[in-house]
Amino acid sequence: MVVETDLVVVGAGPAGTSAALAAANAGLGVILIDEAREAGGQVYRAPARTLTAAIKTRDRDAAAGVRLRAALDRSSVRFERGLRVWSIGERFRTDTVGPEGVRTFKAPRLIAAGGAFERTVPFPGWTLPGVMGLAAATILLKSEAMLPGRRVVIAGCGPLLAAVAAKVSGGGGDVAAVIDMASRRQWASVMLQLATRFNLLREGAGWVLGLARRRVPIHFASTIRRIDEADGLLSVEIGPVDGKGRARPGRSSLINDVDAVAVGHGLVPGVEITRLAGAAHTYDRLRGGWVPVLDAMGRTTIEGLYAAGDGCGIRGALSAATAGTLAGLAAAGDAGALDPDTLASKSEPQLKEAVRLDRFSAAVSELLALRPGQVADIAPDTVVCRCEDVRRADIDAAIADGAADVNQLKHFTRCGMGPCQGRMCGDVVGELVALHAGSREAAGAWTPRPPLRPVPLADLIGSYSYNDMPIPKPVPL
């Protein structure tokens, strides 16, 4: 049984929810789908069900999440929660699995707002239990009211470093050190570009001052060289890096007796829906990697398919909301629910806001973008593809054997064939192949294939009768 509607929106973060609301307000029937129990995506992720009373609404993101979910509740948007989209087909059949098995939706228009995921550039020891992403640490702190560990090292790049460190400290944990790839100079330049964003600067300053007060060591222009494990605890070796992320000669130091490391090197747009649909993409290093080609309203090169949010390029939550609204308006306009004049007048302020936000988000995106030197430095014995234990040395050997792009590499090594479907390693693998292929374009991207996420066979098969199975004409003997 297929449920039909005017518009399907996949992903209920700031982009998807804003898109759904804009389209619904314009009169479209909208179905909004997300795997999670609540809307908000990652940045506005709801706290655990039993923690809602404990939200500190002084937290900007938490408050924004509350407003978002309230607006959704009040609207006519049909929010299908807890459903995992596994296939998107012809305009636009959306197949999902959830607690009640298979559910299928169809609409002539679809907005892809699946967000981004974190990138970690591999180093020896990154797969040890106790090592997690920065986003993962944030989820524990904000949604589970839990410390990632008692003594924690926080490493990588971007504003999340200070935020996570401040929350760990504030929660009574011991931040052994913050290891920031950016130099003080790079941060100064970022501050200048964010000069008029008082809220952001104040928040950031608050985090940093808090850390200084607690005498948390912050190592700038540094990275984790390796992590080792002994007697259930981790020891973290750090060392200096240059602006491109390459190790600089210089003393490395060791941080011992750590029980958790939160590390993240930026965000990668999740483009699986737009790629599966055959939309055109381009490589944009600043915005995180491969992104769909869009017009100003979020239309892709496939008719009826729109995209918005960090899944189109890393610009942050505020840009995501604006882009979502524009895509929702575009869908409504294209469906004839808004006349061209109304569409133009509603879009204008959003378009202006998008341009304004773009300037600021570029500064932060630069902090989060992939540093080629860091990838070049990956030691041969380091696991790059976690799912399949494929090391840098295996990848280099396959390239020497003739693997000319990432898909051929996949066939030669199984790199990217595991259950994460190449998400954890894809950006780094593209960069490694590009070292030989000459460019990211030449290196290519994984061939898009369903299911969009692994799905349990038990959920797919549901209940059936063997006798209902189609009996084909027997092949000639």
Binding site: G418, P450, I471, L477
Partner: protein, 374 residues
């Protein structure tokens, strides 16, 4: 390029690559033209099934030889394609399937395939992973599977070692001249004394370059693979109806096939899955091996398969065009490819092939210009 090769092979799937390999080893100077990378099409994405239980009776002798070659891949190919030789079971769950299976197994047995009909209980003894509802099964001890995605790397190494000029990312666009042949590609003309058309579903437009009309039906086969799981089966499993192929690789993934159709277009080259078709396929798989339901689907994909009007191979000389040959549309082509290619190579080398080929004269449509090119 001013060289005149002894042989040009157009199409770098397993048929083309095998013909190129055998001819090169026999001393010919061979160019293999492939628009993408070798064995990345059907040859790289098929289920790898090496079974006699789905092989057409007329092809059984060929499949038996090919199976022996696959089992010995390190000997003649020189490189590993992950071949596992194991028992094969073809299951019957209904009375109708039992009838079909029994009849067909007998006919295949007459043709030389060692297939025996056994009870459901006996089948469970051979394959403990089976569900309880099997009535009877066809059992063949000569069965197994290869790992399709390893084909490209294995053949690449073999072809390079044999001195084949591997012209990848080279799109053949037509044949400008015959005798010698001049193949027009996007990287310039390639000259050769002999020509093999081995372009998979594209042998139809390719033969049209030579003025030959061979209708090819395009099948869009779907496959699915799970993530690595604990051992759930130890044989290659099919169903009497032919709608299932199922195997678990040594590294733990289970590949589910059976010819369920997706959507696709030979002209654009695009193809994709049909969700209900995937679900049907997966249901059959879990019906045969219930423990599979614990696993998760990691990936589904499609590939093109060529089929002639009589569902038999198109392998042999191209009528009216001396020194031009075609090799394709074999039906379970991956299974038989190495042996069929060996036969065609014998023919190209001027020998009498040790077994009959499948000349395409029987399949051709009359073209408007009945006079053939000399």
């Amino acid at each position: 390029m001013t060289t005149t090769f002894d042989l040009i092979v157009v199409g770098g799937g397993i048929n083309g690559a095998s013909v190129a390999l055998f001819c090169a080893r026999a001393g010919m100077r061979v160019a293999l033209i492939e628009r993408d990378q070798i064995c990345r099409g059907a040859s790289g994405v098929n289920a790898g099934t090496l079974t006699l239980q789905m092989t057409r009776v007329a092809l059984i002798p060929y499949a038996l030889e090919a199976h022996a070659m696959w089992a010995n891949a390190p000997e003649w190919l020189g490189h590993d394609v992950g071949v596992v030789v194991c028992d094969g079971l073809s299951l019957a769950f209904t009375e109708g399937e039992e009838e079909l299976l029994t009849y067909r197994a007998a006919r295949r047995r007459e043709a030389g395939a060692p297939i025996e009909i056994i009870t459901g209980t006996e089948a469970q003894g051979i394959e403990p992973g089976l569900g309880a509802s099997v009535r009877v099964a066809g059992w063949c001890p000569i069965d197994g599977f290869a790992n399709a995605y390893l084909t490209g790397l294995a053949y690449r190494r073999a072809l390079v070692e044999a001195g084949v000029a591997l012209l990848e990312r080279t799109m053949a666009r037509g044949v400008d001249e015959t005798q010698p042949f001049v193949v027009n590609t996007d990287r310039g003309p390639i000259r050769g004394r002999r020509l093999v058309i081995a372009g998979g579903v594209w042998i139809e437009p390719m033969l049209a370059w030579l003025g030959v009309k061979l209708p090819i039906k395009v099948l869009i086969n779907q496959l699915s693979v799970t993530e690595r799981v604990a051992p759930v089966m130890r044989t290659q499993v099919g169903i009497a109806s032919g709608l299932l192929s199922l195997k678990q690789y040594p590294h733990g993934t289970v590949v589910i096939g059976g010819g369920w159709q997706g959507w696709g277009n030979r002209e654009t080259g695009r193809s994709g899955i049909v969700p209900d078709s995937i679900i049907g396929n997966v249901r059959l798989a879990c019906h045969a091996i219930p423990a599979l339901a614990e696993a998760r689907l990691a990936r589904s994909w499609t590939g093109f398969e060529a089929e002639t009007a009589d569902v038999l191979p198109a392998v042999g000389p191209v009528p009216g065009i001396p020194e031009a040959y075609v090799c394709g549309s074999i039906h379970s082509g991956y299974t038989s490819a190495p042996y069929i290619a060996k036969l065609l190579a014998q023919c190209i080398l001027g020998q009498e092939p040790e077994r009959l080929l499948f000349p395409i004269d029987r399949l051709l449509l009359q073209s408007a210009s009945a006079a053939t090119v000399s």
